[in-house]
């Protein structure tokens, strides 16, 4: 049994990592009060940008950062349209998904099927020797190890730094925040753009570590799952980790079921991640803790005068 479970859990960690980056990124944006549905498009463009940069410069780390920047770029469009132009946040996010997807496909044509330098898995010194846990968590690439730290940074940012507290305040009541001298507009811009960077990192993971290739559709719906996971996580980083790994697990699980020789039709197995997303939302809502959503999420700040 363990021979089946341990590789499954290890695959779960890898599969869940890009989702984790994206979920935390979207969470940051939403804490500021802005809904950004463009995650899917951002991840796609970031994967291309990261791939191209790594291909051209030979440095996967530069590629990783480039992916984050691509995410930031698209996010800033969204920020401008929603924060400055008061555009509808839902529709703007959807437009971003459409645009991101199209741009990626269009610009990526020369790079389909090429391989770029990326991140390879290695055994983390000492920790990988621990039986069980070592194999599950410590035999991955550098970006996975990095992803272990980010949730802590996230928590620290929002609980202990003044910038984080200000962002959260803006997300709850922008009018009150303005009244005490904060600048909600700037804080929102920050939340959207910084969140976009994290999302981009998730996209970069797909083309630099998950595979070393690039193609269309690398993001494969993960961006949408990230948006759902933010709700599931009640806007808290700890639960985001659990959610991301849950998803990674389901995706890895249905493939392993097939490899083991199940008789279940594969179309139905492939539905599992999406069914699970809905289930997860139902369960979250059932607990009745909608109160955790930032109160001003999705609304725009009208200018005075």
């Amino acid at each position: 049994m363990w021979e089946f479970l341990i590789p499954l859990f290890a695959a779960t960690v890898q599969s869940g990592t890009p989702i984790l980056y994206a979920t935390l990124g979207e969470m940051l944006t939403e804490k500021g009060g802005v809904l950004n549905l463009g995650v899917e498009g951002m991840m796609a463009l970031a994967a291309l940008a990261a791939f191209w940069t790594s291909l051209v410069t030979g440095s996967p780390w530069l590629g990783f950062v480039a992916g984050g920047c691509a995410g930031m770029l698209l996010a800033s469009l969204h920020a401008f349209v929603c924060i400055s132009c008061l555009g509808n946040q839902v529709v703007s996010g959807l437009a971003l998904t459409i645009l991101g997807g199209g741009l990626t496909h269009f610009l990526g044509v020369p790079y389909v099927g090429l391989a770029a330098p990326g991140f390879d898995p290695f055994d983390f010194p000492l920790l990988s020797q621990i039986p069980g846990v070592g194999e599950i968590f410590f035999k991955h690439d550098m970006l996975v190890y990095l992803s272990f730290i980010i949730p802590f940074l996230f928590w620290f940012f929002f609980r202990r730094t003044s910038l984080g507290l200000h962002v959260a305040a803006t997300g709850e009541m922008p009018a009150a925040a303005a009244a005490v001298g904060l600048k909600p507009i700037r804080l929102r811009y920050f939340a959207v753009i910084a969140g976009g960077f994290l999302v981009g990192l998730g996209g970069a993971y797909l083309s630099l570590a998950y595979t070393h290739l690039w193609t269309n559709g690398l993001s494969g719906g993960r961006g949408w799952i990230a948006v759902a996971l933010v709700i599931f996580a009640f806007w808290r980083p700890g639960r985001a980790v659990a959610g991301a790994y849950l998803f990674g697990g389901v995706m890895a699980f249905q493939l392993r079921l097939q490899a083991a020789g199940t008789h279940l039709p594969s179309s139905l197995l492939l539905m599992l991640p999406y069914l699970l997303t809905i289930l997860v939302l139902i369960l979250s809502a059932w607990r009745g803790r909608r109160i955790d959503a930032p109160a001003a999420l999705g609304t725009n700040i009208e200018p005075e005068g």
Partner: protein, 380 residues
């Protein structure tokens, strides 16, 4: 005022629509008026064209190092001919959109159009009726007509050869197959592969994982990993990206590619690949168009003997005795002797499907939707 504008706009749209069906005949007439003019410059009545214009339609991007890439290499062979020019459209989705693209190509005066994916079948038939002087070649389908041929290649022969290699090289006796869709050509390939595997290694099994996509490196890599985790030490694929090759190399296993030679993606792990070689066939077809000897209503199923399918050179890690065994079998196929599916062939339940001493005809092969003994997996 705004309402008035809106009303005008709607009326204009309606008028346009009405006029279209009122002169429904007009488009046909316009086309017919154009056709003779085109055929005059492209080919004088009953005479073959001097410069053959060939159009190619691909379902995926050309650069995918996979299926469409292989077709495009064939196109380049045609382009290199002094008496032919080519045009291509890539990433054309199957269905209604492809109908438009095919029609546009026909309108542009292409003499022959190669539609390289199964899903183009119905659109090709529709457009072929409207353009009786244009010739159509449909790949991997089963419909034909006075100006439509269908064609494909017996890639299963190459699969059989790669199966021999896989069966010889596996130590765990578990071989993994990452497959896209349970359609006959894929199933047939898996079966021929397994027959090859079991010929040299009766204990080995082939495990199949369906990805339900032709091209999704992340999912394909995951699928390969799941097979590796299940104990497979040779991975092969019916997919268009080299991701499973990557996965195999990372895990220290062996791998076999598809469509083109995938050795460059996994130099330490790649044993060989089952490849397409469309160039010679395409050149021959275009020559027939030029000479006026092209005949419609045919189904062509090219084989290793024709050079349409083959295997990539075997890797250095393959021992010499295996190499010579495989080459001997390849020579057999090259001479035209194909007994891959000759009986006795049993299905997964152990029942005999092709009895001893018999060999299935093409129809039985074309509609194959069951797995042979030795395959672990479902056909849906």
């Amino acid at each position: 005022m705004k309402k008035l504008l809106k009303l005008i706009g709607i009326s204009a749209a309606l008028l346009m629509a009405l006029s279209l069906f009122a002169c429904g005949e007009a488009p046909q007439q316009e086309k017919k008026a154009e056709e003779p003019a085109k055929t005059e410059e492209a080919q004088a009545p009953a005479e073959a064209p001097k410069v053959v214009k060939a159009g190619f339609i691909y379902v995926s991007p050309v650069g995918d190092a996979g299926y469409s890439f292989a077709h495009d290499i064939g196109r380049q062979a045609v382009e290199a001919l002094p008496f032919a020019t080519t045009k291509f459209a890539e990433s054309v989705p199957e269905g209604a959109d492809s109908e438009r693209v095919i029609r546009n190509m026909a309108r542009e005066g292409m003499d022959i159009i190669f539609a390289t994916s199964f899903g183009y079948m119905d659109p090709v038939m529709k457009v072929a009726k409207e353009f009786p002087d244009t010739k159509f070649m449909h790949c991997s389908g089963f419909k034909k007509g006075p100006n439509v041929n269908n064609y494909f290649g017996r890639i299963y022969q190459a699969r059989y050869l790669t199966g021999l290699v896989a069966g010889s090289m596996t130590k765990s006796n578990e071989i993994g197959y990452v497959a896209a869709f349970p359609i006959p050509e894929v199933i047939r390939g898996i079966n021929a592969f397994t027959i090859g595997v079991r010929e040299v290694n009766p204990e080995a099994q082939v495990r199949v994982v369906w990805t339900k996509t032709w091209y999704d490196p992340a999912l394909e890599k995951d699928a390969a990993k799941s097979l590796l985790d299940a104990g497979c030490d040779v991975i092969t694929q019916h997919q268009d990206s080299p991701a499973p090759q990557e996965a195999a190399q990372e895990a220290g296993a062996y791998c076999i590619g598809y469509n083109t030679d995938m050795a460059s993606f996994a130099p330490k792990a790649n044993l060989t690949s089952a490849i397409w070689n469309w160039g010679p066939m395409y050149v021959k077809t275009v020559e027939e168009v030029r000479d006026g000897t092209w005949q419609g209503d045919k189904s062509t199923w090219g084989s290793l003997q024709d050079g349409v399918v083959d295997i990539a050179p075997l890797g250095a890690m393959v021992p010499d005795d295996v190499k010579s065994m495989v080459n001997a079998k390849r020579d057999e196929l090259k001479s035209g002797k194909d007994v891959i599916f000759a009986g006795p062939v049993k299905n997964q339940a152990g029942e005999v499907v092709f009895a001893e001493g018999t060999a299935p005809d093409d129809a039985a092969l074309l509609g194959m939707d069951w797995f042979v003994e030795g395959v672990v997996g479902t056909t849906n």
